[in-house]
Symmetry: C2
Subunit: 498 residues, 2 copies
């Protein structure tokens, strides 16, 4: 692989823990070099493929950076066919052009262009979505055919709180989870992700602290930070988050609320023990600090079923959130918040300022689905299928990636795999994408940044018959990386597998 | 009307310009009085109806305040049937209870419970929604019946940017509005309101300034403030916002962007002149300041049609937003952003962090509706019907509210009526609600707060045959208020109308 000295000499190192995405880090490095004359006017940019390989980042990252440079007026010509560096002459930029990249919110963290969207040949363990074969498509189609017969759902906006019939149907689902609630305590949201934004907007003032598990769902701390929060993580072990460390964080940071995923946690798949659930409720009640409980994986249980925090919450301190995305279909974009009556007006106001209300049509589809009994019929085979996928992935990893260490999760969608030393998660993510399989590096889930030696594998996302091939590709990526790190055992294994 | 001396003596005055909603202002006044002993333990709260009338606020405001007092443990018994003040003894509050009202974000502005939702007998000019009879319900039903035949839309989440087929269909709608764009410049949002939050999250850092018209859509400045912006308004006249004042604001505040509703502005219904459109584009291009253009009323045009700012934007500084809510149906909860390629990744990332994506099902319904030609067929009768409603409202106001002054809008949904002196908008809103008709007081639309002598009347919201009765009720409210203000002419008119 030949890299022009100009570009090799830049010594660019991506920092996956920075708030800025890698493509913007690269954009800044290149534009600085062009402006400082370290890359000469007239120089030709290396091909995206070559440069991506050289830097150990994805090709889409390089492409995105090149497009930014073009938008900034530093590069001319077709990206991908030898774009050329041009002079950074402000007089030559059109007078009114807006320098969008310079205007980005400092809280914004632009998403990396998703490699899955652009490459259908990729086998995906990276996304937290259900493969379409896992969704109860026939029952959803029947519910949808009925829903569209009611003209109201097409012409009248739903109330801020959502359709009363759906909220009523959810009360039954919640009761099965040990949560007793009433109509006035349920608010429908555009998926659980919007629910996090609703809570953030209702409760967070700029500068407030929020405490969560570390690692945790990155969409949560992104939403909290966008509302101005300082987010801090609390360490976890096999039993979930550590209550003592949580209490220390409450003392030290006085957070506005605590965000937890106690049941089949994302990304680790862990189940917070019953004893810890009780202790954490006691601690937070003592501090009069609310808990926002994400329970979106609660119904995907293979073994022991524990009550949710909300089900154990005698003091009324828990805002509980559920979702249809992880158990029924991500296409509906429906979630719900269950919260004490006294906070509902605040939540409704935040919901209104986010998008006024959730579509009535999708709510009617979910309502029909739930009331037909389809959910109760769907869950047992769905759980069995996911358990079979979990087992298939564990078996394939044992064959193809024997040096990954992981514990079999007892529910949920994720396997949390520890990498052999000295591999870092973000380089595994890049190498795996290069080999045609997506995984999520653990760095993405760290609220406080830092490096990670774990990757998250979602066994729900790929087609069932792709799981083994995906593990094989991941194995190849791991061997290549260990070779590059100079591990002789890996090098021998790599030759053997050719 | 008899008011117990304790409550009469509180001298509570609502401040509609405060960030805190009136019901919370009242809650604070009452809880302070209880804690200070000015309202004794054992005192009975006045009935909501009586107290609302006495204070000149809506009954729902009083009810909401009473519920807050109950949640705070200061009041016991059934609200509405003589709740009683109890001792504020912290030792008696359950140890773990969370004081939710104390935890509210200082950026949050809880919505007033909407009076329309609770009282079906109310005639509504207050909401900015289409009456269901104005929606093309048959064509929507046909599009929905077709949409649900595609199982994909029920089981696969749409991409962050939205369904490509819909974005393609919107390109044609936009072309008819003089906006030439491409697939990669269109992002689907959960209504225009979410679009405002997408832009805010992408561009606003806490402390940034945003400049908008004054008055303007309150959902916009609420969304910008929730992202940490300082929002400032620029005065308008009959031709729309004043370009010189806008340039002064750019110099003084250096805003991150300017938010404008140039075409049939909310709440004033005004149309920014072509000359001003050109000047404002020139000014903002010179300052390299983006314009966020809300164009949600652009297709509701009775007379002259002017190009949108986006249609005139040679420099690429405009982020344009449209919506299906004001012309097709508010139930779909669909809007779109059209923006320069260079800012799309930022917008997509913000969209992802808000709710990952918009439902595919509602997008498929709108796509089918647009592609069937139904939109083109819908618009002419829709415009004619709205124009007839506008005329019916103007005629009814001339009879029943002769001292309101208003200019006939040339499009859009709103009539902006100036009140006779010394009436203030918020007292008219309360008095009108008491008489059974909802209007929106101008205070709600003032980004910088203050009092208003205007009310917004939406002629799209009520049933056509309720318009005259609504104007009659409003006339009664105006006469009663003028009487209370001691206007002898009004008193005479009031007796005459009995």
């Amino acid at each position: 692989m030949v890299m022009p000295a100009t570009f090799a000499g830049l010594g660019f190192q991506s920092d996956p823990t920075a708030h800025q995405p890698i493509y913007l880090q690269l954009t800044v490095a290149l534009s600085d070099a062009i402006r400082a004359g370290r890359i000469a006017v007239g120089a030709r940019l290396p091909s995206e493929r070559l440069y991506a390989q050289y830097l150990g980042v994805s090709r889409t990252t390089v492409t995105a950076a090149y497009h930014e440079l073009k938008a900034m007026g530093l590069v001319r010509g077709y990206v991908g066919r030898g774009a050329v560096v041009i002079a950074d002459d402000p007089d030559r930029a059109p007078a009114g052009t807006v320098p969008w990249a310079l205007l980005a919110s400092r809280l914004a963290r632009p998403a990396q262009p998703s490699s899955t969207a652009t490459d259908p040949a990729l086998i995906s363990f990276g996304d937290g979505w259900l493969h379409p074969s896992l969704t109860p498509s026939a029952a959803l189609a029947a519910a949808a055919a009925t829903a569209v017969e009611d003209p109201q759902v097409l012409i009248e906006a739903a109330q801020i709180f959502g359709l009363p019939v759906l909220r009523e149907a959810l009360i039954d689902v919640l009761r099965a989870n040990g949560v007793r609630t009433t109509l006035s305590e349920v608010l429908i949201t555009g998926g659980a992700q919007q629910g996090l934004n609703v809570v953030a907007r209702a409760l967070i003032s700029p500068g407030d602290a929020v405490v969560c598990e570390s690692p945790t769902w990155h969409g949560a701390f992104r939403a909290f930070r966008a509302a101005g929060a300082e987010v801090a993580g609390v360490a976890m072990d096999r039993e979930g988050v550590d209550p003592d460390a949580l209490e220390d964080a409450l003392v030290r940071l006085r957070p506005k609320f605590v965000y937890l995923i106690p049941t089949f946690h994302c990304p680790t798949g862990r189940l917070l023990s019953l004893e810890r659930r009780r202790r954490i409720l006691e601690i937070c009640a003592r501090f009069r600090t609310p808990i926002v409980e994400s329970h979106v994986y609660g119904d995907i249980v293979f073994g022991e079923r524990l009550p949710s925090l909300k089900g154990l919450d005698a003091a009324g301190i828990v805002i509980h959130q559920g979702s249809a995305s992880k158990t029924i279909s991500p296409a509906l974009r429906l979630g719900w918040l269950v919260a004490p009556r006294a906070v509902m007006n605040l939540l409704a106001s935040a919901k209104a300022s986010l998008d006024l209300s959730t579509p009535a049509l999708t709510q009617a589809v979910l309502n029909g689905f739930l009331r037909s009994g389809a959910y109760a019929r769907h869950l047992p085979p769905f759980r069995a299928e996911l358990q079979a996928r979990r087992d298939a992935l564990l078996a394939a990893l044992a064959v193809h990636c024997p040096d990954l260490r992981c514990v079999a999760p007892q529910g949920g969608l994720y396997l949390w795999a520890q990498l052999p030393k000295p591999l870092r998660a973000h380089e595994v993510e890049a190498a795996a994408a290069y080999e045609g399989v997506s995984v999520r590096g653990g760095e993405a889930f760290l609220p406080d940044g830092g490096t990670s030696s774990h990757i998250r594998l979602c066994y729900a996302a790929p087609a069932l018959d792709e799981i083994a091939a995906g593990a094989q590709r991941l194995g190849k990526a791991l061997r290549t990386l260990r070779q590059r790190h100079g591990d002789p055992a890996a090098r021998a294994a790599s030759f053997a597998s050719v």
